[in-house]
């Protein structure tokens, strides 16, 4: 349970009323993420259909889940996005995909599923692309990566991607720096600075018509997104944030922005006065920049991953990281997803 330590650090602040605390606690429980899975230890994933309700509309999603256990992200408790997968540098990933035959699938020719490890530059046999030979009836994926890959990546299905990605078949994949014993380190990249807390944000968008159409339907000729998500949640306002993280003053927080959406998007962090805050861009698509860049806004386009770090102020307070989804033609705004970063 990755964020439990951060949550336990949460001390009630004088400025927040008891009632608000209760509300906040409920939100934290609701937004708890699936536990991270170390794929170096071997994992079996499968696919389940779940329903989610956005704006009063019930929409079917297909999500990856891990076989075994009952926690969030397990197939007993499937979540959107799928479980966070982690791999240490030098370790061998060993991931088995079991494809259920009778559910959560399209008719031929787009039947079955695969896993594509987006950004990890795996060989053709592990690439998960049916058009270049990947099995869609279940597969085993093995690969390892060197220290250049320490950072944020993604995984998703590569069968009829226009539909299967939209259906929710995606999740975060993080390559971790390791010590001599192979233990995970909290470094933003190999040899890069350490962070205290981490936050993985999976960006995605939803066009409900894509969830019912199948095959080479004309529905897939245009995209009209209606719901805009971070980690499967809408976060329509600061009182109903998609994500909440409680950290400490003066600590560093790594935020990995993983673009699995189908629009443009920008990310920024505001303070309570509405002023944009500096943050440092360290990695693009999981590779370190030679010179990290200090920015106040960053673009995350479909398929991109950007890893940033922010050093929190010395006095307790709140910051508001947010993602604004934008149109491909003119970058005008569709919608903003709000989140809350508190530090005590």
């Amino acid at each position: 349970m990755k964020y439990s330590t951060a949550i336990l650090k949460n001390k009630p602040s004088n400025t927040i009323s008891r009632l608000q605390n209760i509300v906040l606690f409920c939100l934290l429980v609701v937004s708890m993420q699936a536990s991270a899975v170390d794929v170096g230890k071997g994992i079996t994933l499968s696919v389940r259909q779940i329903n989610k309700t956005f704006g009063g509309e019930t929409i079917a999603f297909w999500v990856y889940c891990s076989i075994g256990g009952t926690g969030p992200g397990s197939c007993a408790n499937p979540q959107l996005p799928g479980p966070l997968l982690e791999l240490g540098v030098g370790a061998q990933a060993n991931i088995t995909l079991k494809v259920p035959m009778m559910m959560a699938s399209e008719p031929p020719p787009y039947h079955g599923h695969t896993i594509h490890f987006h950004g990890l530059d795996v060989s053709q046999s592990e690439d998960g692309v049916p058009e270049t030979g990947a099995s869609v009836f279940g597969d085993q994926y093995t690969f390892s990566v060197d220290s250049r890959y320490v950072g944020g990546h993604k995984y998703h299905c590569h069968v009829h991607t226009v539909k299967h990605l939209e259906m929710g078949m995606y999740g975060a994949f993080v390559v971790r720096d390791v010590d001599q014993q192979g233990n995970f380190l909290k470094n933003i990249n190999a040899g890069g600075p350490a962070y205290d807390d981490e936050w993985n944000w999976v960006l995605s968008t939803v066009d409900p018509s894509y969830h019912t159409a199948v095959g080479d339907s004309l529905v897939f000729a245009s995209y009209t997104p209606r719901y805009f998500l971070v980690n499967g949640k809408e976060g329509l306002s600061r009182s109903s944030p998609a994500e909440t993280l409680t950290s400490r003053v003066n600590s560093t927080v790594a935020i990995r922005l993983m673009g699995l959406h189908s629009t443009n998007a920008t990310f920024q962090i505001l303070n309570t006065e509405g002023t944009t805050q500096d943050f440092v861009l360290h990695n693009m698509d999981g590779f370190a920049l030679n010179t990290p860049k200090t920015l106040t806004q960053i673009e995350v386009s479909p398929g991109q991953t950007k890893d940033i770090m922010i050093t929190l102020p010395v006095n307790p307070g709140t910051l508001y990281p947010e993602v604004t989804y934008r149109r491909l033609r003119d970058d005008s705004s569709y919608s903003t997803v709000y989140s809350i970063l508190t530090f005590n």
Binding site: N94, S125, D216, A221, G259, S262, M284, D285, P302, R329
Partner: protein
């Protein structure tokens, strides 16, 4: 089950097959007995290669113009004594090193060292030649490093004896054309053909979209006469090279006289969004004057090049032009060099096909109205230029697998063929992966790398 020195650290799968019996019991437990392992006497394990890291080991390019490159060597842990690593070029006539030994001490071990490799010139049209920098076993009093043999580096030295001299006088006729929606160039649901406008070099031929690629050299004058053979007025510009407010009525022409000063890719076309969407766009490729295979003079070298003109198309605009509602644009075709998905994967001018170890310069011009976020499988690549702004220090070029080529913008990337196989390149954006709803027919092509 056999475990060898080379696979000790790998798990092995033991298959257990189900056996059928006549018992009716629903669940039976049975022991799986692992017998004692028999070992052959083993020498102590050799130092692990991964303690010395060399990156990258493929995809590097030098050139006969003297363009150099570098790789980085680092230790993954502290040695107890000095470690020296001898290095050699397998072909000093193509690439040479500036040092023969890399030395690390227990004090400076954590600082990665950049090792320069310089391209060597000759006067022979000998083509691009592959060579290797051999990283020999390390020498150290620290036994855990002594003998550690890291991966060698494969490079290509680019020949500079065979530069073609491009034509410097061009004529472009603005005329009507037809975009065929068929299996040959563009696939997708819908009508068989769409009216379009395009550029042609021959007044008797239909215009194509994109128009012809015009080759030019830095510092060399270039003239383009643009003749309007269409029935409505047009304009012409080349952002970054040429602007004009002149309106060309039917049968009028204008003369472009320019001398490019910066190598790269430029969009030419009609500045009006409707005219451009109907097909009036193309690209000019400006190469260094010395004919070197470098992205710009003294810039990064490459062994092959591709030019991608990408665009989008709303078929209702093509059917109704010029009477279109500019505020409503719903493109349903996404094109690369005038083709989509399954056609572009066969087109050798588009696919990234070559030998492992090669580096391909891809110049991309987005003439469309939508941003195209292009994702490449197989390898990270370097973004060396965006919208004409070059990354002068190649170390600062970001290594990515996705580049968002924004509407009406250009970019140049260096893509290394780092591993063998066939891999897709595609836009990562929902409907842009389709041709009017038919999957894998958006802006897409293939990486085809042979050993």
């Amino acid at each position: 089950m056999t475990m060898e020195q080379t696979n000790l650290l790998q798990f092995q799968r033991i298959a257990i097959r189900r056996a059928t019996d006549a018992l009716r019991a629903s669940l039976l437990f049975w022991p799986l007995i692992l017998l004692n392992a028999c070992t052959s006497p083993l020498p102590p394990p050799p130092p692990l290669e991964k303690d010395i890291s060399v990156t990258p080991t493929t995809g590097l390019v030098t050139s006969e113009n003297g363009a150099s490159t570098f790789f980085t060597v680092s230790l993954r842990r502290q040695p107890t004594d000095d470690v020296s690593i001898p290095i050699q070029s397998t072909n000093e006539a193509e690439g040479r090193l500036t040092k023969e030994t890399i030395s690390f001490s227990p004090d400076n071990w954590s600082i990665p060292q950049r090792i320069a490799v310089v391209g060597v010139d000759d006067n022979i049209a000998d083509g691009d030649i592959r060579y290797t920098i051999t990283v020999l076993p390390a020498v150290s009093a620290d036994n855990s490093f002594n003998g550690a043999d890291a991966t060698d580096v494969i490079l290509t030295n680019i020949d500079n004896e065979s530069a073609p001299q491009p034509v410097t006088n061009h004529v472009l006729y603005i005329t009507t054309g037809v975009i065929e929606i068929s299996a040959s160039k563009i696939s997708g649901n819908g009508v068989a053909s769409l009216p379009s406008w395009g550029y042609s070099t021959d007044p008797t031929e239909a215009g194509t979209s994109p128009g012809p690629i015009i080759d030019a050299l830095v510092g060399r004058p270039l003239t383009i006469r643009v003749v309007n053979r269409h029935n409505i007025a047009h304009q012409f510009d080349i952002p970054g090279l040429f602007t004009s407010t002149q309106t060309l009525l039917p049968n009028e022409s204008l003369q472009v006289e320019i001398t490019p000063t910066e190598a790269g890719i430029y969009r030419y076309g009609d500045p009006d969004v409707v005219n451009r969407s109907l097909g009036l766009f193309g690209a000019i490729v400006v190469r260094p004057a010395n004919g070197s295979k470098t992205a710009w003079n003294n810039g990064p070298a490459y062994s092959q090049e591709r030019n991608w003109v990408i665009a989008d198309l709303d078929e209702t605009w093509n059917r109704n032009a010029p009477a279109v509602n500019v505020s409503r644009y719903n493109p349903n075709y996404f094109l690369i060099n005038g083709q989509n998905g399954f056609s572009a994967k066969e087109d050798t001018a588009t696919t990234l096909k070559g030998s492992v170890g090669e580096t391909i310069l891809v110049r991309i011009a987005n003439a469309g109205q939508y941003d195209q976020s292009l994702h490449f499988h197989a390898s990270h690549f370097k973004i060396i230029s965006q919208n004409g702004i070059k990354v002068r220090d190649i170390r600062e070029a970001p290594s990515v697998t996705t580049i968002n080529v924004k509407r009406a913008s250009t970019a140049m990337i260096l893509f290394p063929l780092a591993q063998p196989g066939i891999y897709p390149v595609h836009v990562h954006t929902a409907q842009m992966e389709t041709g009017n709803g038919v999957y894998l027919n958006g802006t897409a092509t293939f990486i085809i790398a042979e050993e």
